[in-house]
Amino acid sequence: MNLSRTTATAGRVLRQLLHDPRTIALMLLVPCVMLVLLRYVFDANPATFNSIGASLLGIFPLITMFLVTSIATLRERTTGTLERLLAMPLAKGDLIGGYALAFGAVAVLQSLLATGLALWGLDLNVIGSAWLLLLVALLDALLGTALGLFVSAFAASEFQAVQFMPAVIFPQLLLCGLFTARDTMQPVLRAISDVLPMSYAVDGMNQVLRHTDLTATYVRDVLIVAGCAVLVLALGAATLRRRTA
């Protein structure tokens, strides 16, 4: 791997995004609009908004980055730019690192906006530090990028790539503890939720929501989400083949 090539790749991905202001606007504004919507859906019940809102701050970046990355890398595969890059002196890690850096930067921006709005605009009542919320959001974004990169290898078209969203994300959404506490689920589902990374992302958000200090559980959650992101990124790198049929 080569740092200059990685940052050049990240710069290129960001430059592509800059030519597409509508996508940027959607990435940044949709989470904010959803939070506002949620706040007033639970107008009579601020406690519910509190717990769901905090969880969603961790889930939005994952979903957005998953979608954007899976489509972007699928495009690289179908337009021939991926074949060209892999025939050049670019390490697979440079490409994947470049995507992770670029979309990580967008995720930071998205999370800053969403978290700022939730905390100060919508009175989300978080006891812990906002920085800890941001850290989880950023790691979720990386996990989303990693998952998107990985599934794009199995999608032959944009249609299929978009369908991977419900297939990969929705089960995690149902089992992550957003709708009901995980330990009240049917034991088999509970066990499955234990191995899905989004459960830990949501749990991490809830730790910050309820505790003033950094808890051991939060540290565990963050490490698990980060570990999963790295693992899936490595799996994604393995799907990039210099030689194809």
């Binding site: 021939g80 730019t81 025939a87």
Partner: protein, 263 residues
Amino acid sequence: MMNKAAEAPGTVRAPATPAVHAAGLTVVRGPRTVLRDLDFSVPRGQITGLLGPSGCGKSTLMRSVVGTQAKVTGTLTVLDRPAGHPTLRARVGYVTQDPSVYLDLTVRQNLDYFAAVLLPGRAAADRRRADVERVLTEVDLTSHADALAGNLSGGQLSRVSLAVALLGAPELLVLDEPTVGLDPVLRRDLWDLFHSLAGHGTTLLISSHVMDEAERCHRLLLMREGRLLADDSPDALRARTGTDTVEAAFLHLVDTANATRTN
């Protein structure tokens, strides 16, 4: 790659091995054997044309040379290394039939990025800038440098792709149908460029299914259904088959091959 410039001009590098050498080259794609037991050489500093009808295996052969084709068996040596060797990635330029550039970037942004992949680091920024200007001039796209690639015509887009392959002045250029969809003036200009590159020592392997382009090559590889019909110069080919054009020679060879197969 850069060591070459240090050599005194006119130095004869011994032994003068061919740029590409294949022996028993076979490629299987799914249930099909796309290339069957090919033997050929591509001499250095010359233009070798790879000609044959669509679907005869030209692209597969080129992908094998570049090292992006899977399931290649036999011997395939490129610039004295096995094809696909990591050190070859900066020494071989490759243009596929797809545009293979980012449509949502400008021409210059595309070239800047690929140049940064070939020649990374802040220290090389000036060299990269000069290289980008050079290739823009070579493919005559300086006036469109700041246009979005997605807004260009098909012919302009394929020239952007060619410009990317010219970055870093590779020793071997593998061009898959680089002149498709270009008007005659541009086609002539590009062939002039190819000849000037060859004059400076670059080896070119160019595929085409237009037989009149064959006359502009130094060497020809004629292909049909995954096999080589001929590996010769255009003149020798015409003389051997007693024909006036490469197209007629190709047809003659196909007929002969068919006749021997049925007998």
